[in-house]
Protein backbone atom coordinates (compact mmCIF):
# COMPACT_ATOMS: atom_id res chain seq x y z
CA UNK A 1 0.00 0.00 0.00
CA UNK A 2 2.07 2.91 -1.17
CA UNK A 3 1.04 6.00 -3.02
CA UNK A 4 0.13 5.15 -6.59
CA UNK A 5 1.76 7.00 -9.44
CA UNK A 6 -0.11 10.26 -9.99
CA UNK A 7 0.23 11.24 -13.63
CA UNK A 8 -0.67 14.87 -12.94
CA UNK A 9 0.88 17.82 -11.15
CA UNK A 10 -0.18 21.44 -10.97
CA UNK A 11 2.53 23.94 -11.92
CA UNK A 12 0.36 26.92 -11.04
CA UNK A 13 0.25 30.26 -12.80
CA UNK A 14 -2.41 32.49 -14.24
CA UNK A 15 -3.41 33.45 -17.77
CA UNK A 16 -5.57 36.34 -18.93
CA UNK A 17 -6.86 37.40 -22.32
CA UNK A 18 -8.86 40.45 -23.36
CA UNK A 19 -10.41 41.05 -26.78
CA UNK A 20 -10.62 44.55 -28.21
CA UNK A 21 -12.08 46.05 -31.34
CA UNK A 22 -8.98 45.46 -33.44
CA UNK A 23 -6.50 43.89 -31.02
CA UNK A 24 -6.22 41.09 -28.53
CA UNK A 25 -4.10 41.00 -25.39
CA UNK A 26 -2.95 37.64 -24.01
CA UNK A 27 -0.91 37.58 -20.83
CA UNK A 28 0.48 34.99 -18.42
CA UNK A 29 2.87 35.03 -15.53
CA UNK A 30 6.18 33.21 -15.92
CA UNK A 31 6.44 31.38 -12.63
CA UNK A 32 6.49 27.59 -12.67
CA UNK A 33 5.96 25.87 -9.31
CA UNK A 34 5.40 22.48 -7.81
CA UNK A 35 3.95 22.18 -4.34
CA UNK A 36 5.54 24.98 -2.34
CA UNK A 37 8.69 25.19 -4.45
CA UNK A 38 9.44 27.37 -7.42
CA UNK A 39 10.92 25.42 -10.33
CA UNK A 40 11.75 28.49 -12.39
CA UNK A 41 10.85 32.15 -12.59
CA UNK A 42 11.22 32.36 -16.32
CA UNK A 43 8.88 29.89 -18.04
CA UNK A 44 6.60 31.04 -20.83
CA UNK A 45 3.04 29.70 -20.78
CA UNK A 46 2.20 31.40 -24.03
CA UNK A 47 2.53 29.75 -27.41
CA UNK A 48 1.89 31.26 -30.82
CA UNK A 49 -0.01 28.69 -32.85
CA UNK A 50 -0.75 30.68 -36.01
CA UNK A 51 -0.10 34.21 -37.21
CA UNK A 52 -3.32 35.38 -35.58
CA UNK A 53 -3.77 32.88 -32.74
CA UNK A 54 -2.01 32.75 -29.42
CA UNK A 55 -2.63 30.14 -26.75
CA UNK A 56 -1.98 30.67 -23.06
CA UNK A 57 -2.33 27.68 -20.75
CA UNK A 58 -1.93 27.12 -17.05
CA UNK A 59 -2.08 23.85 -15.18
CA UNK A 60 0.27 20.94 -15.72
CA UNK A 61 2.99 22.24 -18.01
CA UNK A 62 4.03 18.83 -19.32
CA UNK A 63 0.50 18.32 -20.63
CA UNK A 64 0.51 21.91 -21.90
CA UNK A 65 3.75 21.29 -23.80
CA UNK A 66 2.32 18.11 -25.37
CA UNK A 67 -0.89 19.96 -26.27
CA UNK A 68 1.02 22.83 -27.89
CA UNK A 69 3.12 20.41 -29.94
CA UNK A 70 0.00 18.51 -30.99
CA UNK A 71 -1.72 21.70 -32.14
CA UNK A 72 1.33 23.03 -33.96
CA UNK A 73 1.66 19.76 -35.85
CA UNK A 74 -2.01 19.78 -36.85
CA UNK A 75 -1.68 23.41 -37.91
CA UNK A 76 1.30 22.58 -40.09
CA UNK A 77 -0.65 19.84 -41.84
CA UNK A 78 -3.55 22.25 -42.31
CA UNK A 79 -1.21 24.74 -43.94
CA UNK A 80 0.09 22.08 -46.31
CA UNK A 81 -3.42 20.99 -47.24
CA UNK A 82 -5.11 24.39 -47.52
CA UNK A 83 -2.23 26.68 -48.42
CA UNK A 84 -3.18 29.21 -45.75
CA UNK A 85 -2.97 29.82 -42.02
CA UNK A 86 -5.74 28.66 -39.72
CA UNK A 87 -8.13 31.38 -38.57
CA UNK A 88 -8.61 31.87 -34.84
CA UNK A 89 -12.15 30.42 -34.71
CA UNK A 90 -10.93 27.36 -36.64
CA UNK A 91 -8.04 26.96 -34.21
CA UNK A 92 -10.55 27.27 -31.37
CA UNK A 93 -12.59 24.35 -32.69
CA UNK A 94 -9.41 22.32 -33.26
CA UNK A 95 -8.30 22.91 -29.69
CA UNK A 96 -11.72 21.86 -28.40
CA UNK A 97 -11.62 18.62 -30.37
CA UNK A 98 -8.01 17.92 -29.36
CA UNK A 99 -8.93 18.32 -25.71
CA UNK A 100 -12.03 16.15 -26.05
CA UNK A 101 -10.12 13.30 -27.72
CA UNK A 102 -8.46 12.90 -24.34
CA UNK A 103 -11.80 12.93 -22.53
CA UNK A 104 -10.95 9.82 -20.53
CA UNK A 105 -7.39 10.85 -19.67
CA UNK A 106 -7.58 14.63 -19.82
CA UNK A 107 -4.88 17.15 -20.54
CA UNK A 108 -4.59 18.97 -17.25
CA UNK A 109 -4.42 22.28 -19.03
CA UNK A 110 -6.63 25.32 -18.55
CA UNK A 111 -6.52 27.25 -21.77
CA UNK A 112 -7.29 30.65 -23.08
CA UNK A 113 -6.98 31.21 -26.82
CA UNK A 114 -6.69 34.76 -28.10
CA UNK A 115 -6.32 36.30 -31.50
CA UNK A 116 -8.00 38.10 -34.35
CA UNK A 117 -10.89 36.64 -36.27
CA UNK A 118 -11.14 36.83 -40.05
CA UNK A 119 -12.65 40.33 -39.82
CA UNK A 120 -9.75 41.59 -37.77
CA UNK A 121 -11.76 41.85 -34.56
CA UNK A 122 -10.27 40.58 -31.34
CA UNK A 123 -11.53 37.24 -30.11
CA UNK A 124 -10.94 35.25 -26.96
CA UNK A 125 -11.98 31.65 -26.43
CA UNK A 126 -12.06 30.11 -23.00
CA UNK A 127 -11.91 26.38 -22.28
CA UNK A 128 -12.35 23.87 -19.54
CA UNK A 129 -9.99 20.92 -19.30
CA UNK A 130 -12.02 18.58 -21.51
CA UNK A 131 -12.76 20.96 -24.35
CA UNK A 132 -16.01 22.83 -23.77
CA UNK A 133 -15.46 26.30 -25.15
CA UNK A 134 -17.09 29.62 -25.67
CA UNK A 135 -16.18 32.84 -27.42
CA UNK A 136 -16.05 35.66 -24.90
CA UNK A 137 -14.75 39.20 -24.62
CA UNK A 138 -12.24 38.41 -21.87
CA UNK A 139 -11.23 35.47 -19.78
CA UNK A 140 -8.80 34.18 -17.22
CA UNK A 141 -7.66 30.70 -16.15
CA UNK A 142 -5.29 29.35 -13.56
CA UNK A 143 -4.62 29.62 -9.85
CA UNK A 144 -5.15 33.39 -9.75
CA UNK A 145 -8.22 33.38 -11.97
CA UNK A 146 -10.77 33.53 -9.15
CA UNK A 147 -8.97 36.67 -7.91
CA UNK A 148 -8.84 38.34 -11.32
CA UNK A 149 -12.17 37.52 -12.93
CA UNK A 150 -14.31 39.66 -10.59
CA UNK A 151 -12.13 42.66 -11.42
CA UNK A 152 -12.46 42.02 -15.15
CA UNK A 153 -16.23 41.53 -14.76
CA UNK A 154 -16.39 44.88 -13.05
CA UNK A 155 -14.30 46.69 -15.66
CA UNK A 156 -15.21 44.91 -18.86
CA UNK A 157 -18.52 43.15 -18.60
CA UNK A 158 -20.82 44.38 -21.30
CA UNK A 159 -23.51 46.62 -19.80
CA UNK A 160 -26.18 44.00 -20.09
CA UNK A 161 -26.37 40.60 -21.70
CA UNK A 162 -30.15 41.04 -21.62
CA UNK A 163 -30.23 44.01 -23.95
CA UNK A 164 -31.31 43.38 -27.50
CA UNK A 165 -29.54 43.28 -29.85
CA UNK A 166 -26.77 41.76 -27.79
CA UNK A 167 -23.87 44.12 -27.41
CA UNK A 168 -20.57 43.11 -28.87
CA UNK A 169 -18.43 41.03 -26.60
CA UNK A 170 -15.28 43.04 -27.31
CA UNK A 171 -14.32 45.82 -24.98
CA UNK A 172 -14.34 49.42 -26.17
CA UNK A 173 -11.10 50.07 -24.27
CA UNK A 174 -8.08 51.09 -26.29
CA UNK A 175 -5.09 48.81 -26.56
CA UNK A 176 -3.04 50.84 -24.09
CA UNK A 177 -5.85 50.85 -21.53
CA UNK A 178 -6.33 47.12 -21.85
CA UNK A 179 -2.61 46.47 -21.32
CA UNK A 180 -2.64 48.71 -18.24
CA UNK A 181 -5.62 46.81 -16.90
CA UNK A 182 -3.78 43.53 -17.41
CA UNK A 183 -0.72 44.84 -15.55
CA UNK A 184 -2.92 45.99 -12.69
CA UNK A 185 -4.77 42.69 -12.31
CA UNK A 186 -1.56 40.70 -12.35
CA UNK A 187 -0.03 42.94 -9.71
CA UNK A 188 -3.08 42.36 -7.53
CA UNK A 189 -3.23 38.64 -8.12
CA UNK A 190 0.47 38.35 -7.25
CA UNK A 191 -0.26 39.84 -3.83
CA UNK A 192 -2.70 37.12 -2.87
CA UNK A 193 -1.80 34.03 -4.89
CA UNK A 194 1.43 32.22 -4.06
CA UNK A 195 1.64 30.61 -7.48
CA UNK A 196 1.51 33.88 -9.41
CA UNK A 197 4.41 36.29 -9.63
CA UNK A 198 7.98 36.93 -10.86
CA UNK A 199 7.13 38.34 -14.29
CA UNK A 200 4.16 38.76 -16.57
CA UNK A 201 4.55 38.17 -20.29
CA UNK A 202 2.08 40.27 -22.26
CA UNK A 203 1.45 39.46 -25.92
CA UNK A 204 -0.50 41.92 -28.04
CA UNK A 205 -1.92 40.80 -31.37
CA UNK A 206 -3.12 43.41 -33.81
CA UNK A 207 -3.25 44.06 -37.52
CA UNK A 208 0.45 44.87 -37.65
CA UNK A 209 1.48 41.62 -36.01
CA UNK A 210 2.49 40.34 -32.60
CA UNK A 211 4.26 42.32 -29.88
CA UNK A 212 5.68 41.06 -26.60
CA UNK A 213 6.19 42.96 -23.37
CA UNK A 214 7.54 41.83 -19.99
CA UNK A 215 6.72 43.44 -16.68
CA UNK A 216 8.38 42.54 -13.39
CA UNK A 217 6.18 41.35 -10.55
CA UNK A 218 6.84 40.53 -6.93
CA UNK A 219 9.20 37.59 -6.61
CA UNK A 220 8.18 36.47 -3.13
Amino acid sequence: MGSRFNPYDNNGGTCVAIAGVDYCVVAADTRMSTGYSILTRDYSKICQLADKSVLASSGFQADVKALQKNLSAKHLIYQHQHNKQMSCPAMAQLLSNTLYYKRFFPYYAFNVLGGLDSEGKGCVFTYDAVGSYERVGYSTQGTGSTLIIPVLDNQLKSPSPLLLPAKDAVTPLSEGEAVDLVKDVFASATERDIYTGDQVEIVIINASGIKREYVQLRRD
Binding site: I77, F104, V136
Partner: protein, 260 residues
Amino acid sequence: MKLDTSGLNSIVPFSGTDDGLEENIHLAVSSFQLPRTTDFDGFQKKAVEMVKPAKGTTTLAFIFKEGVIVSADSRASMGGYISSQSVKKIIEINPYMLGTMAGGAADCQFWHRNLGIKCRLHELANKRRISVTGASKLLANILYSYRGMGLSIGTMIAGWDETGPGLYYVDAEGGGLKVKGFLWIRITVRIWGVGQYRYDMTIEEAAELARRAIYHATFRDGASGGVASALWDDVGELHYKYYPVVPSPVEQEMVEIPVS
Protein backbone atom coordinates in the same frame (compact mmCIF):
# COMPACT_ATOMS: atom_id res chain seq x y z
CA MET B 1 -17.22 -4.07 -25.13
CA LYS B 2 -16.89 -2.58 -28.56
CA LEU B 3 -17.09 1.17 -28.49
CA ASP B 4 -18.61 2.97 -31.43
CA THR B 5 -15.66 5.15 -32.26
CA SER B 6 -16.92 6.23 -35.67
CA GLY B 7 -17.60 9.62 -34.15
CA LEU B 8 -13.90 10.18 -33.88
CA ASN B 9 -12.87 9.53 -37.45
CA SER B 10 -11.35 12.71 -38.70
CA ILE B 11 -12.85 13.86 -41.96
CA VAL B 12 -9.73 13.22 -44.01
CA PRO B 13 -10.19 13.88 -47.71
CA PHE B 14 -9.79 10.81 -49.85
CA SER B 15 -6.68 11.89 -51.63
CA GLY B 16 -5.53 8.55 -52.97
CA THR B 17 -1.89 9.38 -52.34
CA ASP B 18 -0.42 7.33 -49.56
CA ASP B 19 0.62 10.15 -47.31
CA GLY B 20 2.26 8.41 -44.39
CA LEU B 21 1.87 11.36 -42.05
CA GLU B 22 -1.83 11.73 -42.79
CA GLU B 23 -2.45 8.07 -42.19
CA ASN B 24 -0.75 8.16 -38.82
CA ILE B 25 -2.83 11.09 -37.66
CA HIS B 26 -5.96 9.28 -38.87
CA LEU B 27 -5.08 6.16 -36.91
CA ALA B 28 -4.06 8.13 -33.87
CA VAL B 29 -7.44 9.78 -33.54
CA SER B 30 -9.68 6.88 -34.43
CA SER B 31 -9.95 5.80 -30.82
CA PHE B 32 -9.99 7.50 -27.45
CA GLN B 33 -6.75 7.06 -25.52
CA LEU B 34 -7.54 5.29 -22.29
CA PRO B 35 -5.36 5.51 -19.20
CA ARG B 36 -3.41 2.40 -18.36
CA THR B 37 -4.68 1.68 -14.92
CA THR B 38 -6.22 -1.22 -13.11
CA ASP B 39 -8.84 1.01 -11.56
CA PHE B 40 -10.56 2.82 -14.44
CA ASP B 41 -13.56 4.02 -12.45
CA GLY B 42 -11.49 5.31 -9.56
CA PHE B 43 -9.21 7.15 -11.94
CA GLN B 44 -12.15 8.72 -13.78
CA LYS B 45 -13.68 9.84 -10.51
CA LYS B 46 -10.42 11.45 -9.40
CA ALA B 47 -9.75 13.01 -12.78
CA VAL B 48 -13.22 14.54 -12.91
CA GLU B 49 -12.84 15.90 -9.38
CA MET B 50 -9.52 17.43 -10.32
CA VAL B 51 -10.28 19.05 -13.64
CA LYS B 52 -13.86 19.89 -12.65
CA PRO B 53 -15.37 20.04 -16.11
CA ALA B 54 -18.08 22.66 -16.43
CA LYS B 55 -21.67 21.59 -15.87
CA GLY B 56 -24.95 22.54 -14.21
CA THR B 57 -28.22 23.52 -15.77
CA THR B 58 -31.93 24.01 -16.14
CA THR B 59 -33.40 23.42 -19.56
CA LEU B 60 -36.89 22.79 -20.77
CA ALA B 61 -38.72 22.17 -23.98
CA PHE B 62 -42.27 21.56 -25.05
CA ILE B 63 -44.37 20.96 -28.09
CA PHE B 64 -47.32 23.15 -28.83
CA LYS B 65 -49.46 24.11 -31.77
CA GLU B 66 -46.86 26.27 -33.47
CA GLY B 67 -43.92 23.94 -33.06
CA VAL B 68 -41.38 23.27 -30.39
CA ILE B 69 -40.08 25.76 -27.91
CA VAL B 70 -36.75 25.25 -26.19
CA SER B 71 -35.49 27.27 -23.28
CA ALA B 72 -32.42 27.18 -21.08
CA ASP B 73 -30.45 29.13 -18.51
CA SER B 74 -26.84 30.07 -19.22
CA ARG B 75 -24.73 29.32 -16.19
CA ALA B 76 -21.81 26.91 -16.10
CA SER B 77 -20.29 25.91 -12.78
CA MET B 78 -17.02 24.14 -12.05
CA GLY B 79 -17.33 22.77 -8.54
CA GLY B 80 -18.54 25.78 -6.56
CA TYR B 81 -17.18 28.35 -8.97
CA ILE B 82 -19.32 29.89 -11.68
CA SER B 83 -17.16 29.59 -14.73
CA SER B 84 -19.48 31.41 -17.08
CA GLN B 85 -22.80 33.26 -17.09
CA SER B 86 -23.17 33.22 -20.82
CA VAL B 87 -22.92 29.64 -22.00
CA LYS B 88 -24.95 28.74 -25.07
CA LYS B 89 -26.87 25.71 -23.87
CA ILE B 90 -29.07 25.47 -26.87
CA ILE B 91 -26.99 23.98 -29.63
CA GLU B 92 -28.02 24.06 -33.27
CA ILE B 93 -27.47 20.65 -34.71
CA ASN B 94 -28.69 21.90 -38.08
CA PRO B 95 -31.08 24.63 -39.25
CA TYR B 96 -34.16 22.71 -38.15
CA MET B 97 -32.97 20.80 -35.12
CA LEU B 98 -31.84 21.95 -31.71
CA GLY B 99 -30.24 20.15 -28.82
CA THR B 100 -30.11 21.32 -25.23
CA MET B 101 -27.10 20.94 -23.03
CA ALA B 102 -27.36 19.57 -19.52
CA GLY B 103 -24.56 17.87 -17.65
CA GLY B 104 -21.00 18.05 -18.93
CA ALA B 105 -20.54 21.02 -21.24
CA ALA B 106 -17.72 19.50 -23.30
CA ASP B 107 -19.58 16.20 -23.64
CA CYS B 108 -22.72 17.93 -24.91
CA GLN B 109 -20.85 20.26 -27.29
CA PHE B 110 -18.75 17.49 -28.79
CA TRP B 111 -21.51 14.92 -29.25
CA HIS B 112 -24.03 17.44 -30.58
CA ARG B 113 -21.50 18.56 -33.17
CA ASN B 114 -20.82 14.93 -34.00
CA LEU B 115 -24.57 14.34 -34.35
CA GLY B 116 -24.79 17.34 -36.69
CA ILE B 117 -22.08 15.80 -38.85
CA LYS B 118 -23.87 12.45 -38.94
CA CYS B 119 -27.18 14.14 -39.84
CA ARG B 120 -25.50 15.99 -42.70
CA LEU B 121 -23.92 12.79 -43.97
CA HIS B 122 -27.35 11.15 -43.84
CA GLU B 123 -28.76 13.99 -45.92
CA LEU B 124 -26.03 13.66 -48.49
CA ALA B 125 -26.35 9.89 -48.64
CA ASN B 126 -30.14 9.76 -48.74
CA LYS B 127 -31.07 13.05 -50.44
CA ARG B 128 -33.51 13.93 -47.68
CA ARG B 129 -33.34 15.37 -44.22
CA ILE B 130 -33.06 13.03 -41.30
CA SER B 131 -36.10 12.76 -39.04
CA VAL B 132 -35.92 13.89 -35.43
CA THR B 133 -36.58 10.29 -34.42
CA GLY B 134 -33.62 9.16 -36.46
CA ALA B 135 -31.30 11.82 -35.11
CA SER B 136 -32.16 11.10 -31.51
CA LYS B 137 -31.70 7.37 -32.15
CA LEU B 138 -28.25 8.00 -33.64
CA LEU B 139 -27.22 9.94 -30.58
CA ALA B 140 -28.73 7.45 -28.14
CA ASN B 141 -26.87 4.56 -29.77
CA ILE B 142 -23.52 6.33 -29.63
CA LEU B 143 -24.04 7.23 -25.99
CA TYR B 144 -25.09 3.67 -25.21
CA SER B 145 -21.73 2.39 -26.34
CA TYR B 146 -20.04 4.78 -23.89
CA ARG B 147 -22.34 3.76 -21.08
CA GLY B 148 -20.72 3.61 -17.66
CA MET B 149 -17.60 5.52 -18.73
CA GLY B 150 -18.62 8.71 -17.06
CA LEU B 151 -20.09 10.79 -19.87
CA SER B 152 -22.56 13.22 -18.42
CA ILE B 153 -25.17 14.21 -20.98
CA GLY B 154 -28.87 14.87 -20.51
CA THR B 155 -30.13 16.36 -23.68
CA MET B 156 -33.34 17.05 -25.52
CA ILE B 157 -33.36 16.84 -29.28
CA ALA B 158 -36.07 19.14 -30.56
CA GLY B 159 -36.87 19.69 -34.17
CA TRP B 160 -39.21 19.74 -37.05
CA ASP B 161 -39.46 17.07 -39.70
CA GLU B 162 -42.01 15.73 -42.19
CA THR B 163 -44.21 14.33 -39.46
CA GLY B 164 -44.31 17.64 -37.62
CA PRO B 165 -42.60 18.74 -34.40
CA GLY B 166 -40.52 16.20 -32.52
CA LEU B 167 -39.04 16.21 -29.05
CA TYR B 168 -36.87 13.45 -27.66
CA TYR B 169 -34.95 13.09 -24.46
CA VAL B 170 -31.57 11.34 -24.66
CA ASP B 171 -29.13 10.75 -21.84
CA ALA B 172 -25.72 9.29 -21.31
CA GLU B 173 -27.02 6.07 -19.87
CA GLY B 174 -28.31 5.37 -23.37
CA GLY B 175 -31.92 6.12 -22.48
CA GLY B 176 -34.19 7.79 -24.97
CA LEU B 177 -37.78 8.94 -24.63
CA LYS B 178 -40.25 10.40 -27.04
CA VAL B 179 -42.01 13.36 -25.51
CA LYS B 180 -45.52 14.38 -26.49
CA GLY B 181 -46.00 17.42 -24.32
CA PHE B 182 -43.96 19.03 -21.65
CA LEU B 183 -40.45 18.07 -20.61
CA TRP B 184 -37.89 19.70 -18.41
CA ILE B 185 -34.46 18.73 -17.24
CA ARG B 186 -32.96 20.19 -14.20
CA ILE B 187 -30.11 19.25 -11.97
CA THR B 188 -31.60 20.02 -8.60
CA VAL B 189 -34.76 22.05 -8.60
CA ARG B 190 -38.35 21.32 -9.44
CA ILE B 191 -40.36 23.62 -11.61
CA TRP B 192 -43.80 22.14 -11.27
CA GLY B 193 -46.80 24.32 -11.22
CA VAL B 194 -45.25 27.27 -12.93
CA GLY B 195 -47.97 27.87 -15.40
CA GLN B 196 -50.71 26.43 -17.51
CA TYR B 197 -49.52 24.37 -20.40
CA ARG B 198 -52.01 24.12 -23.22
CA TYR B 199 -51.37 22.65 -26.61
CA ASP B 200 -52.94 25.59 -28.41
CA MET B 201 -50.90 28.41 -26.93
CA THR B 202 -49.69 31.24 -29.08
CA ILE B 203 -46.01 31.74 -29.60
CA GLU B 204 -45.83 34.63 -27.15
CA GLU B 205 -47.61 32.68 -24.41
CA ALA B 206 -45.34 29.72 -24.96
CA ALA B 207 -42.20 31.85 -24.83
CA GLU B 208 -43.43 33.54 -21.69
CA LEU B 209 -44.15 30.20 -20.02
CA ALA B 210 -40.74 28.88 -21.00
CA ARG B 211 -38.94 31.93 -19.67
CA ARG B 212 -40.89 31.97 -16.43
CA ALA B 213 -40.21 28.33 -15.80
CA ILE B 214 -36.47 28.86 -16.18
CA TYR B 215 -36.64 31.92 -13.97
CA HIS B 216 -38.32 29.98 -11.16
CA ALA B 217 -35.78 27.21 -11.39
CA THR B 218 -32.82 29.56 -11.34
CA PHE B 219 -34.30 31.39 -8.36
CA ARG B 220 -33.75 28.40 -6.14
CA ASP B 221 -30.95 26.56 -7.85
CA GLY B 222 -27.40 27.82 -7.38
CA ALA B 223 -26.17 25.85 -10.33
CA SER B 224 -28.53 27.59 -12.74
CA GLY B 225 -28.56 31.23 -13.59
CA GLY B 226 -27.50 33.77 -16.12
CA VAL B 227 -29.77 34.51 -19.01
CA ALA B 228 -32.99 32.68 -19.85
CA SER B 229 -33.42 32.35 -23.55
CA ALA B 230 -36.16 30.81 -25.60
CA LEU B 231 -35.86 29.56 -29.13
CA TRP B 232 -38.77 28.46 -31.20
CA ASP B 233 -38.48 26.12 -34.04
CA ASP B 234 -40.83 26.25 -36.98
CA VAL B 235 -40.61 24.59 -40.35
CA GLY B 236 -36.95 25.22 -40.98
CA GLU B 237 -36.62 28.65 -39.48
CA LEU B 238 -35.24 29.65 -36.11
CA HIS B 239 -36.36 32.82 -34.40
CA TYR B 240 -34.19 33.92 -31.54
CA LYS B 241 -35.98 35.64 -28.70
CA TYR B 242 -32.96 36.71 -26.81
CA TYR B 243 -29.68 36.27 -28.47
CA PRO B 244 -29.56 36.92 -32.16
CA VAL B 245 -27.82 34.46 -34.41
CA VAL B 246 -24.41 35.61 -35.37
CA PRO B 247 -23.87 33.91 -38.68
CA SER B 248 -20.53 32.21 -38.42
CA PRO B 249 -18.35 33.30 -41.30
CA VAL B 250 -18.24 30.61 -43.91
CA GLU B 251 -14.68 29.96 -44.90
CA GLN B 252 -15.32 27.77 -47.85
CA GLU B 253 -18.53 26.82 -49.54
CA MET B 254 -19.09 23.69 -51.51
CA VAL B 255 -20.29 24.46 -54.98
CA GLU B 256 -22.46 22.12 -57.02
CA ILE B 257 -20.57 21.02 -60.10
CA PRO B 258 -22.97 20.99 -63.03
CA VAL B 259 -23.28 17.47 -64.41
CA SER B 260 -22.29 17.50 -68.03
